[in-house]
Symmetry: none
DNA sequence: AAACGGCGTTAAGATTGTGTTAAGATGAAA
DNA sequence: TTTCATCTTAACACAATCTTAACGCCGTTT
């Protein structure tokens, strides 16, 4: 029996504890993150089935977190927020959230909506072809639901950052992405790493997906600007 | 452009009218049913993308409707109900509903949640390659999004300055641009470089895009003034 | 005819940007 | 704790690009 994995992003310890004990009682696996930047790091590496996200984090705008996660994943996101204005709800939902609960919320309702999200992610995984969660470009393909990349049908093992990097490029196939844009998308606005670091990840990524890394077929360099995924 | 189809199941004429006018304004197709039995009939024949369902119908229990529909379809169901008890929400969501709104609800929130449901059911993303970010002039073309220039459909490799230079000329096709104007546009400030330098870049650019560089077809020289891109 | 000014072309440093490698640092799992 | 995978940082070689200078050509002027 598979235990679903829940990523809880919340800075209020009281609510974290409430959710934690509840999830344990329901026999779910879970992982907690207390800040937006930590959440972005864990989102890929933990490979959660559902993310429960508090919008009122201290270090980042919640809606930005949704957008960034949506850049490389279709994992269901349930927003929990103290703000009850229509404007806030619409903004979060349009950014890519799947559901929106206002505090104080009923724990039973949260669990029910969690089951809805899990039910959906399970059916999407089983019939992959009806859901548009697979990217294909030449011999390269990405299964966003599974969080895996494939070359000629065989899986290519990528580290979390390499995977995010590939997804950002794939979602913008044909467009040149500047170094800064990529850094912000992959690392998050707050702790943006530097360009030299991006280069080394680009090198390892190319070594894994390009047949001749010195003559790239997929990821083209635009000197002084950035990189670009080529449609094959 | 495909118009999503919404099936509205609601017996209160006031709310039906509100939703109806809103859906029309948003350019959605819709169909209304006033009773549970009618809804079940239409759910099959209308083949909706989303169902908006009022639980308080006179002839049938709303949760039963959800279960029956789920017997043959995974179409997203958004419940709208006057009952705000946790028990009711949990029951409806566990029966197969995707979302639950309590009356009175905000029409903006309903629309946002509708978009969430549609986003999920939509099979393919819009292709952005038909966007108008491509310049064409004779055999010459520029893809601004890709940051590339093409001659007869094959890519021409340009250095950053050459590319900027070409873009400035292309954006002002037919107009004569002075040396100073071009220098300011390409280098950022007139002080950065001088006219002799501009000549060098013009020569290399012509070598790349002109079939006979000594007899330019695209970039014409205006002695003592500047250059001009010719519309072909 | 000779001189001059504006332009195109070429080539040689100088400069910047990039790919690559490898050695610590970090953090999670056993 | 150890072990393993991953990330960060630094350094260096190499490639691409930019700048600068020199030279030849053409048309016009003196």
């Amino acid at each position: 029996m598979y235990k679903p994995k829940i990523l809880v992003v919340e800075d209020d310890p009281a609510i974290t504890n409430l959710i934690r004990t509840t999830l344990e009682a329901q026999d779910y696996q879970y992982h907690t993150a207390k800040s937006g930047s930590a959440a972005l790091m864990d989102a890929v590496s933990y490979n959660a089935d559902v993310i429960i996200l508090d919008l009122g984090l201290p270090d980042m705008d919640g809606v930005d977190i949704i957008r960034k996660v949506r850049g490389w994943s279709n994992v269901p996101i349930i927003v929990v927020s103290a703000r009850s204005e229509d404007r806030d709800k619409v903004e979060a939902l349009d950014a890519g959230a799947d559901d929106y609960l206002t505090k104080p919320f009923s724990i039973d309702e949260l669990l029910a909506r969690l089951r809805v999200a899990l039910r959906r992610s399970r059916t999407e995984e089983t019939d992959m072809h009806s859901s548009g969660s697979i990217y294909t470009n030449g011999a390269l393909s990405i299964d966003y639901a599974a969080g895996c990349a494939y070359l000629d049908g065989t899986e290519v093992h990528l580290t979390p950052i390499e995977y995010k990097l590939l997804c950002v490029l794939a979602r913008n196939t044909g467009k040149v992405l500047t170094h800064n844009y990529i850094l912000k998308e992959v690392w998050g606005s707050a702790l943006a790493s530097d360009t030299p670091s991006l280069r080394v990840f680009m090198a390892t990524l190319r070594k894994k997906i390009e047949k001749d890394p010195s003559n790239p077929q997929y990821i083209q360099t635009h000197i002084g600007v950035g990189y670009r995924m080529i449609r094959k």
